[in-house]
């Protein structure tokens, strides 16, 4: 694992989390709710926060990683700005969900579970988002895209590119004026 660098503002975030951890009862069964609280706040579990939990619950840090890595929900790296989740539930599988995932992987140049180098996109597979009638399905940020096809993959990514270009142009014109 790479040395985890701190982003600007991270120190305050860790401080805030440490304070919020204090509010939980010092009991073993607080562990999972604490982990969930941190992930909700930071979108992943920063190592510094894990140390705070260990201190608060008086449990070894390896024990905490043991629990956190057991469950699929927890992430140990910051996700991209845009999160792409490709459903590989049973219904999506029988109509080619894996082809959709592959297309995202090819277009973004990353594998599932990874984040692009510019931290723009992260890609993951999920087991059933529960709208099987729309299979195959991909969830991009908060939007569910049903009846996916490889050409739609291109369309979605193109949409983000256009939005980014537009934002850049607007930023430039604002700078000029």
């Amino acid at each position: 694992m790479n040395e985890v660098s701190m982003f600007p503002g991270d120190e305050e975030m860790i401080l805030e989390i440490t304070n919020r951890i204090e509010a939980f009862p010092k009991r073993r069964d607080s562990l999972i709710p604490i982990l969930q609280m941190i992930q909700e706040r930071c979108s992943y579990l920063p190592p510094q926060a894990m140390e705070s939990i260990a201190t608060h619950l008086q449990v070894s840090i390896s024990e905490i990683y043991g629990v956190a890595t057991f469950y699929n929900q927890f992430r140990f790296h910051p996700p991209g700005r845009h999160q792409i989740k490709v459903c590989l539930g049973t219904a999506c599988h029988v109509v080619g969900g894996d082809i959709i995932l592959e297309n995202f992987e090819r277009k973004l140049g990353i594998k599932d579970g990874e984040t692009t180098a510019d931290l723009e996109f992260s890609l993951e597979r999920v087991a059933c988002v529960g709208c099987c009638a729309l299979a195959p399905v991909a969830v991009v940020d908060e939007t569910t895209h049903g009846h996916m096809a490889p050409s739609k993959v291109e369309g979605i990514l193109l949409g983000f590119e256009i939005m980014r270009d537009q934002a850049e142009r607007e930023g430039r014109t604002q700078d000029e004026s």
Binding site: L35, T90, L134
Partner: protein, 640 residues
């Protein structure tokens, strides 16, 4: 004995009266009501845009109407689904209501009284004007006990639930002794809907008889099967019914704390249950004195963190205690020694949601529904290759044929039915010869499948059984908690073998290896995950052995699904000169122009996604799919 001098019945009658009044006060007579299905599936299909469109056009036109967000009717194919109650008309359901349809409906139906027959799914009650939904097999073959309120009432509104008769069962139970409640559930024959079908009454009796100061009731909503979503729908669409069942169970066994264990991946359900608990507490349905009696009960939501094995009750308890969710040896059963070593009843969402109707109508009534050995209803999420996918609640004993072909419309596009996979990763695949099997716990288990989670995936001629078995093994292999060697390593080997078979690299003795390894995993695993993990392989081997053999001996996938041994090519006799439709569709630029300005596919580049097959205009229909891959003719690239 009683804290209040009122009986729970009198106390409840007062509550019901208040709720009804409040509920009525919100309804303005003569004003149309537009109910929009806003559970996860509706939202995914665009219900928010539909709602916004309704709001905008109503405002624009200055029309008074009340928009209600309701849960899910289970008709996933028809989402976004909207029911409009326009005074003077029966309530009418509309399917696939896009923003455009929403605007059209307001203008034509609410303004001019034209219900726009072309958009109508059906009327929700019998009438002379519009065909009723009850004329469709999808509706009249269903029997809704658990899903009754889903999609009809606002899940965020306690008054709506109580006004519709909710919590009357709890009041009735509180007037009985706990052992009488247990006896009613025992006599009803209710079996646990989590999959195994253990009689719920026996579990309650065991925990009820246990001598302990503290007892727990847990509602298991850790729905993990990738393809089943009924628990989520129930919690999102009618959380109070589950809460009522939980309260009745807690009273019957003498538990003071209820925990609803919901997957964190279901944020809407987590919110819905949390809100329902707060409302119930506020109205004296939960708390120190439930409906004025000395029975006290508190409830809370615990968010599961996404481990399939936590659906197993001992693993679920481990995770509640803040540990890795690994199953323990049973006995002791949780009903004797569960959470923190105390007697704990763990029931599935559907089991608990079945309890209120049983208490209201009695054990005999429940026994009269469905088959004798598994009375009641079964809920399936039928997905895959059917015309009308969605949630279906049918009396047990209905045959698979009725369920798949009549209720859900069978495979679309006149494709032939091939198999149905029942019960998710623990279940099995049944071929057409089993279509007369009635759906109940025992018949399905005898056939080699199981009720399991209630996930049902219908497959047609285009689905490869080896590929589907591989899919489920891939899932269980990842989800194995790692405690038992056979499950941890054995499933990995099963997956490796299936992997090479689907790649066309299968070996002669692979099928024997699959069988013997499966038997070992079944014997050597502690919990249901390992014991049932080989089921998808064993049943498909039993009924579709020829498909496995075609993969191994001929390197051929009969369903043309396994991509490593299939290929696409363009039939030059059909390809139209100068047509470019496929070229733009190809994500990897594998299509090039060959002799006579016709197109050909570069097999080295092709990723076999099938886009060109879709893009090729129907009048040419030139793209072909073959297996083994070597059958595809090779076309040379022309030097330019």
């Amino acid at each position: 004995m009683k804290v209040d001098q009122d009986s729970p019945g009198a106390r409840f009658a007062r509550l019901q009266d208040e709720c009804r009044k409040r509920f009525q006060a919100r309804i303005t007579p003569g004003i149309p009501v537009i109910s929009i299905g806003m559970a996860t599936c509706g939202l995914a299909a665009g219900a928010i845009e539909t709602r916004k469109a309704f709001e905008a056009i109503l405002g624009e036109r200055g029309i008074q109407a009340r928009i209600e967000s309701v849960g899910c009717l289970g008709h996933c194919y028809a989402e976004p689904l909207v029911i409009i109650e326009n005074p003077g008309f029966p309530p009418i359901a509309y399917h696939e209501v896009t923003p455009g349809k929403a605007r059209a409906l307001v203008k034509a139906f609410l303004e001019e009284g034209d219900p726009l027959f072309e958009f109508v799914l059906g009327a929700m009650e019998e009438n002379d004007l519009i065909p009723s939904v009850m004329d469709f097999p999808r509706f009249h073959l269903e029997k809704r006990l658990v899903l009754e309120g889903c999609g009809r009432i606002d899940p965020t509104d306690l008054d709506a639930y109580v006004a519709a008769g909710g919590y009357a069962a709890l009041a009735k139970a509180l007037a009985m002794s706990p052992s009488e409640v247990v006896r009613t559930v025992l006599e009803s024959g209710l079996r646990g809907r989590g999959g195994a079908g253990f009689p719920a009454g026996l579990k309650w009796q065991c925990a009820g008889n246990a001598d302990a100061r503290v007892k727990y009731v847990i509602c298991n909503a850790d729905e993990g099967d990738p393809g089943a979503y009924m628990d989520r729908t129930i919690l999102e669409s009618n959380p109070h019914q589950v809460l009522e069942g939980l309260a009745i169970c807690a009273y019957a066994v003498g538990a003071g704390e209820g925990i609803i264990y919901v997957r964190a991946e279901y944020p809407l359900a987590v919110n819905a249950v949390g809100r329902a608990i707060a409302q119930a507490r506020e109205h004296g349905i939960l708390g120190d004195s439930v409906l004025g009696t000395d029975f006290h009960l508190d409830a809370k939501v615990f968010q599961g963190s996404g481990a399939f094995v936590c659906g197993e009750e001992t693993a679920l308890i481990q995770s509640l205690e803040g540990k890795r969710g690994m199953p323990l040896h049973r006995p002791p059963y949780p009903a004797r020694s569960g959470l923190w070593g105390m007697p704990t009843v763990i029931n599935n969402v559907k089991t608990l949601a079945s309890v209120p109707p049983i208490m209201r109508n009695g054990a005999d009534w429940y026994r009269s529904i469905g088959s004798a050995r598994s009375p009641g209803t079964a809920i399936f999420s039928v997905v895959g290759k059917v015309v009308h996918p969605g949630l279906v609640e049918i009396p047990t004993g209905t045959t698979l044929r009725t369920l798949i072909f009549e209720v859900c419309g069978g495979p679309p596009k006149q494709k032939a039915f091939k198999a149905v996979q029942i019960g998710g990763p623990s279940g099995g695949c049944l071929p057409g010869s089993f279509l007369e099997t009635p759906v109940d716990f025992d018949s399905l288990t005898e056939a080699g499948a199981m009720m399991g989670s209630g996930g049902m995936v219908v497959m047609d001629e285009d689905s490869c059984m080896v590929n589907v078995a591989r899919y489920f093994l891939d899932f269980t292999q990842k989800e194995s908690c790692g405690k038992c060697t056979f499950c941890r390593i054995g499933t990995r080997h099963l997956l490796n073998i299936l992997d090479r078979i689907t790649r066309g690299e299968g070996r002669e003795d692979d099928l024997e290896k699959l069988e013997s390894l499966s038997a070992d995993i079944q014997k050597g695993s502690l919990c249901g995950l390992g014991k049932t993990a080989p089921n998808p392989i064993l049943t498909s081997l039993r009924y579709f052995r020829d498909e496995y053999e075609a993969h191994i001996h001929e390197k051929r996938c009969p369903a043309l699904m396994c991509r490593a041994i299939t290929a696409f090519y363009i039939d030059l006799d059909r390809c139209a000169r100068g047509c470019d439709a496929c070229v733009g569709s190809c994500p990897v630029e594998a299509i090039f122009t060959t002799r006579g300005r016709k197109k050909a596919i570069d097999q080295d580049r092709c990723v076999k996604c099938g886009e060109c097959l879709v893009a090729c205009p129907a009048e040419y229909d030139a793209v072909r799919k073959v297996s083994p891959a070597e059958l595809a003719p090779i076309f040379e690239r022309l030097e330019e």
